[in-house]
């Protein structure tokens, strides 16, 4: 399971970075959100996987339990990522409306 998730994280990072290197605004934004998902999967995997156990247990209950910290970290990161993604979409929309192009290199190139 760890190996599979590690591979998923790796693929997400790779695709995210690849898309960020493209010249189109939309691909840049998709790349950024893939990168964020990649780091979420990485936190989850790096912190150790526990299958089928609850993170919150009554006092005195024996046995293994899932680590609640990475779950709350990821939850926070997802919320932040969502807000940032919404903002970058609005910004991209504004850029697109002013510059009438989706090509990053063409934006504002009339005066450098």
């Amino acid at each position: 399971m760890e190996l599979l998730l590690a591979l998923v994280a790796g693929v997400l990072y790779a695709t995210g970075l690849y898309l960020m290197l493209r010249r189109r605004l939309t691909q840049l934004i998709v790349g950024l959100s893939l990168l964020a998902s990649g780091s979420n999967v990485l936190i989850f995997t790096a912190a150790g996987l526990t299958r089928g156990k609850p993170p919150l247990i009554a006092a005195g209950t024996p046995g293994p339990f899932a680590d609640p910290v990475p779950q709350s970290l990821i939850l926070t990161a997802i919320v932040i990522g969502f807000g940032v993604l919404a903002f970058s979409l609005v910004l991209a929309h504004r850029v697109h409306r002013t510059a009438a192009t989706d090509d990053i290199d063409a934006i504002g190139s009339e005066q450098t």
């Binding site: 990485l42 150790g48 850029v95 934006i107």
Partner: protein, 492 residues
């Protein structure tokens, strides 16, 4: 101690009140300024308390560390929060006459306070994931401030800024995830204890380098600084000043905090990397600054070049070098903020910051010209101003451990700074005004804000001895984290 929450709660409350007030410019300005003054007051109280009673800790909700959210103020944090107060106050004051009314209507002041909250939070937090969250708070506020009412080129600058910072955040999150996987804790004090005693240390270099890259992008270290001159010259002067004075320094702060707590006993390799990056940043930044022909671009490259001075102390890691770097940080925050505010004067007077279109201001505005001399010559390192003391301390620190080449590089780079500042001064003030130049009137708030920062610079100059001894204490606390760990976790 509840006092520690104030530098975060005050700007939050101010931002909320400001957004409830809606479009009443006069009231908004008064509230925004009062909020900034209150932050300053709280910061003074925190610093006084830390100075008298050692490191202060607040466990939010009384959850004991390392389980709850911890706020910690050591001398280093407290001094930086004080700078947040000063810069927040001055920038708010400056924007009374320096920001166009459209922006003000659109919640400029409340965004500015949210930014201040993010910066204070980043300086005060005692938990590395919390540091990430404060970074995001600060970034979102800065994104919106940067993108408000932009056009063409400026939107492109905003987009570069947003993308690079989001990339840095993703890398920071990755580093934090790997760190948690290794250590099982995120509290700084707990990390400092657990980290060196892990059963199977692994990935140290990878995690350290991820931190260097993530914080390096935010701080503007070579080779990660290219976004900075491309975007800092675009927003209005007050916003540029706030970003230049505070945001890059948060990156430097985070770098110093994480490396002194986590990697202090690490193999020399990582510190050599930081040393090389710092020196290259100085040389490349200042060489580029000399070639620029626009006031704000000159400043942006100066900002980059001088970030190298603030990280070189971390690389040397002797108490004196770290103290010198902290003093440099304080000096540079004040000076670069005031110079960006000066660029606001030029924008108001001549509607441009292109050096070719400036000039003749010494004749028409002698008082302003004399006032501007203080930050310009302090940045250049002309004795006896604070920049001279800061540079002297860095050179002494490198001589102390026989890094003669480093002292030579610092001297050479200082010469470049002097050259770039002297040209700035003569182009903007001495040379005759270009034909057809017309001067607008200057608001008193703009001049007053620059005067206040000039006074702070002079204060740093004349009170260099007590300030430097505070910096030395901050360096002691950073390099010997036992006190920090005891204060947060309690007991032995």
């Amino acid at each position: 101690m509840i006092l520690l929450a104030l530098p975060i709660v005050i700007p939050l409350a101010t931002a909320i009140v400001l957004s409830l007030l809606g479009q009443r410019p006069a009231v908004s300005r008064a509230v925004a300024f009062a909020g900034a003054v209150a932050i300053f007051g709280a910061a003074v109280a925190v610093l006084a308390r830390v100075e008298a009673h050692g490191i202060q800790v607040l466990q939010i909700g009384s959850w004991p560390a390392p389980f709850g959210i911890t706020l910690v103020a050591d001398v280093f944090s407290a001094m930086l929060v004080l700078m947040v107060g000063i810069i927040g106050m001055v920038v708010t004051g400056h924007s009374f006459s320096g920001v166009d009314p459209r922006r003000e209507k659109f919640g400029y002041h409340s965004l500015l306070h949210i930014l201040l909250m993010g910066v204070s939070g980043a300086f005060l937090t005692g938990d590395i994931f919390n540091l990430y969250v404060w970074f995001e708070v600060m970034l979102i506020a800065s994104f919106v401030l940067m993108a408000l009412y932009r056009t063409g080129t400026q939107l492109r600058a905003a987009f570069t800024y947003v993308t690079l910072n989001l990339l840095a955040s993703a890398l920071l999150l990755t580093a934090i995830g790997l760190l948690y996987g290794q250590a099982g804790t995120l509290n700084f004090a707990d990390l400092a204890q657990v980290w060196p005693q892990r059963q199977t240390p692994a990935l140290d270099e990878a995690i350290a380098m991820l931190f260097v890259i993530a914080f390096g992008i935010k701080a503007g270290l070579f080779p990660l600084f290219f976004w900075l001159p491309a975007s800092y010259h675009a927003p209005p002067a007050a916003i540029g000043a706030l970003f230049a004075g505070l945001l890059t320094k948060v990156g430097v702060y985070a770098l110093i905090r994480v490396f002194t707590l986590l990697f202090r006993n690490a193999a020399g390799g990582m510190y050599s990397v930081i040393l090389v990056l710092s020196v290259t940043t100085m040389v490349v930044g200042m060489t580029a600054a000399v070639g620029q022909r626009d006031f704000r671009r000159v400043l942006s490259f100066n900002l980059v070049g001088h970030i190298g001075f603030t990280t070189v102390g971390l690389a040397l890691s002797t108490p004196f070098a770290v103290a010198a770097s902290i003093f440099y940080m304080l000096h540079h925050m004040v000076v670069i903020t005031s110079l960006f505010l000066v660029s606001g004067l030029f924008l108001r007077l001549r509607r441009t910051t292109d050096l070719a279109a400036l000039g003749g201001l010494y004749r028409t505005h002698p008082a302003t010209a004399v006032l501007t001399m203080i930050p310009i010559f302090s940045l250049a390192g002309v004795p006896p101003l604070s920049g001279f003391i800061a540079k002297l301390a860095i050179i002494e620190a490198s001589l102390e451990i026989d890094y003669y080449w480093l002292a030579a590089v610092v001297l050479a780079v200082s010469l470049l700074t002097l050259l770039s500042m002297a040209r700035l001064w003569s182009d903007a003030f001495w040379k005759p005004a270009p034909p057809g130049a017309t001067d607008a009137r200057l608001g008193p708030a703009m001049l007053a804000s620059i005067a206040v920062l000039a006074a702070v610079t002079l204060g740093l100059t004349f009170a260099a001895e007590p300030v430097f001894s505070l910096c030395s204490r901050a360096a002691e606390q950073l390099l010997h984290p036992d006190e920090y760990v005891r204060a947060v976790l309690g007991g032995g």
